[in-house]
Symmetry: C2
Subunit: 334 residues, 2 copies
C-alpha cells in the first residue's frame, strides 16, 4: 500500500505539503503541485479515506432508515436524498429496518459512533415507540406525521384526506367507506382526521362500520373490498389510504361484477406510477416523494453543518388528482 509518505519521498517534499496539496492546492506553489501530481500518478497513490475521516473526525455520511426499501414511495424519497447528499459530497448508508426498532437502534448507533453524521428516518414518529429524537444525533423525519417532535418534512395528510372526501361528498356521495392503514399508524391517524373533518363540515354523520382496517398492502385491500361488497347498505365510494389498497379494492369489486366508477367510486393516496396505468385510472393524492427526500437531506445537512440549530417542520403541498375511478353519485341502477 502506498501512503502519503511514499508520495512525499517520491516528490522530495514533506507529508504536510502533500496533504495540503490535496486539500488546499491553492496554498501550495505551482512547481510543487506539479511534483506532487507526478508522484501521485507514478505511485498510483490513493489516499486512505478511512484515515482521512478518522483524522478529521467527520464521516461525510448520512444514514437513511427505511422500513422497506422495496416500497416505491420510499425508494423515491431515497432517490431525492441521494441526489442532494451526493451533490454535497456526502455518502448515504442504507438502513433497511424492516420495521424493527432493534435495527433502528443499530443505525442510530452509527451516528453515535461517528460512522455517520446524521440520520433520516422514513418511519413516521409514533409516541412511545421511537428512538428519535435523541440528544447528540442529528435527525430528520421524512414523510412524517403531525406532531413529530424533531425536524420533519411531510405533506398535510389530514388536509389531503379532507380534500378527497369533500370532493366525494360534493359529487353526491353520502356513504363513504374507508380502507385505512393499521389504526396504530400515524399516517392512518392523520388521514382519518381529515376524513372525519370532511364529514363533519358537510354535516354527514360518521358511521364506524364504514371503516375497515387494512395494512397498506394489496391483500388487505382485496379483503376489505370483499367485506364492503357484502354489506347490506354498501357505500357508494371508498376512500383508500394508499394506492396499493385502492387498486386492490378496484380489482376486488370488479371481480364481483361491480363497475368503477359507475357502481362505486374509489380514491387512493400516494399516486404511484401504476395509478396512471390501471383501468380505470385512479383518483388519488400525489405526494412529492423525491422532493420530500431532497428537502429532508437539505435540512439534515444544514443541521450537521451547524447552519441551523432549532427543529423545523416543512410541509409540502400535495396534489389532488382526479382520474377515472370516481364519478358523481347516481341512484343505484341495479
Amino acid at each position: 500500500m502506498t501512503t502519503i509518505r511514499d508520495v512525499a519521498k517520491e516528490a522530495g517534499l514533506s507529508t504536510g505539503t502533500i496533504s495540503k496539496a490535496l486539500s488546499h492546492p491553492e496554498r501550495v506553489s505551482k512547481k510543487n503541485l506539479e511534483k506532487v501530481e507526478a508522484a501521485i500518478l507514478k505511485l498510483n497513490y490513493k489516499p486512505n479515506m478511512l484515515a482521512q475521516k478518522f483524522r478529521s473526525n467527520t464521516a461525510n455520511t448520512i444514514v437513511v432508515m427505511v422500513p422497506d426499501i422495496a416500497n416505491l414511495f420510499f425508494a423515491k424519497v431515497i432517490s431525492g436524498i441521494e441526489s442532494v447528499a451526493q451533490r454535497a459530497g456526502y455518502n448515504v448508508l442504507l438502513g433497511d429496518t424492516r420495521d424493527s426498532s432493534n435495527k433502528e437502534k443499530d443505525f442510530i448507533r452509527m451516528v453515535e459512533t461517528r460512522l455517520a453524521d446524521g440520520v433520516i428516518n422514513l418511519r413516521p414518529y409514533k409516541e412511545n415507540d421511537s428512538l428519535l429524537p435523541k440528544a447528540g444525533v442529528f435527525a430528520v423525519s421524512a414523510s412524517s406525521c403531525e406532531g413529530t417532535p424533531y425536524s420533519s418534512v411531510r405533506i398535510d395528510n389530514a388536509g389531503a384526506a379532507n380534500k378527497v372526501v369533500r370532493h366525494l361528498i360534493q359529487q353526491g356521495h353520502k356513504r363513504i367507506g374507508v380502507i385505512s392503514g393499521l389504526k396504530t399508524n400515524p399516517h392512518t391517524r392523520d388521514r382519518m382526521k381529515g376524513y372525519l373533518q370532511a364529514l363533519e363540515s358537510q354535516g354527514i354523520e360518521f358511521d364506524e362500520s364504514l371503516v375497515i382496517e387494512g395494512d397498506f398492502n394489496y391483500w388487505s385491500g382485496i379483503s376489505a373490498a370483499e367485506q364492503f361488497y357484502h354489506m347490506e347498505n354498501r357505500p357508494s365510494a371508498v376512500f383508500c389510504m394508499n394506492d396499493e389498497m385502492a387498486i386492490a379494492a378496484m380489482k376486488g369489486f370488479i371481480d364481483k361484477g361491480l363497475r368503477i366508477p359507475q357502481d362505486i367510486s374509489i380514491t387512493g393516496f400516494d399516486d404511484m406510477d401504476v395509478s396512471k396505468y390501471v383501468v380505470p385510472t385512479l383518483t388519488t393524492v400525489a405526494q412529492p416523494a423525491e422532493k420530500i427526500g431532497e428537502k429532508s437531506a437539505e435540512m439534515l445537512l444544514d443541521m450537521i453543518q451547524g447552519k441551523v440549530t432549532e427543529n423545523k417542520e416543512y410541509v409540502f403541498p400535495y396534489e389532488f388528482i382526479i382520474r377515472e375511478s370516481t364519478s358523481a353519485f347516481t341512484e343505484k341502477t341495479k
Copy 2:
C-alpha cells in the same frame, strides 16, 4: 468526547484490556468485564468506529451501484443485498449512478480508497463502457447479462425470452412483435437472442419490421403500441422486454379499442407487483430479484473474506407465468 482511555482510567484498567473486553470478551476475566461494563455505562462511552475501522483497515461496507433506485426491480435486489450484508455485519452504501459512468467512478473509488470493501453493480456489463472489472476491487455484477467478465448473478435472459416466444408460437401466433429495450442494452441483446432462437426453432422467418425499439419506460410502450396499431399487417402477439412497457402497450391498445388477449396477446418481463393487478393480468417472466441480491452479496462477501478467489457466474432459474394477457391465436373476428 469520551475515549477508550477515559474508560480505562475509570475502570482502573489499561486501554488494551478495554479494547479486548470489547472485541474478545471471553479473553477477559469476568470481574474486569463487569468493571469495564460499569465504566462504559457510567461514562456513556461509544467507541469511535471511524478509529476502529481505520486501525483495523477494514470498512465492513459494500457499495451498491444502481442506475436508478426508484426502479422497483432494483429496489428489490437491493433489499436482498441489504439483508445479507446486515446479517454479516456489513453496511451498504448506496450509489445511485443515474447511469453516469462518472458517478460510477466515484463509487468504485470508494473501494480503492478503503471506504468500502467491495462493490455490487446493478448495471449490466457492456463492452467498452464499463469501469469494472478492475484490479484490486472486489466486484460482482447483479442482474447481469451473458459474457460478463467478472463475478455475476443473473437469470437466463435468452432462455426466458425463448420460452415466452415459443409459448406464443405454440398458441398459434406467427406474427410476433417485439417492444425491446434500447438496442445497446445488454439485456435487450440477450432477450432478442432468445426471441430469434424461438422463431428459428419453429421455422418462422424473422421480420425486422416487427421489432420496435423502446427504452424500458412507460411512454416508449405507449408509442410502440401506437406504431403496431397502425401497421397494415399487425402482429397478433407482442413480446415486451419488460412489464412496464407491456402494461403501457396494453393500455395503448385498449385505448384504440383492441381487446386483450382476444385481439392481441401481450407478454412482459420482470413480474412487477403491478402485473398481478392490471386488467387483464400480465403473462410474464418472474426474476427472483431479492434472491439475486442475496446471492450477489454472498458472493461479494466471500470474495472480500478471501473464501473465493476466481470469478463465478450464478444463474438463477426464472419462472414463466401465464396469466390473462395471452391466449391462442384466432382468425381475426373483425
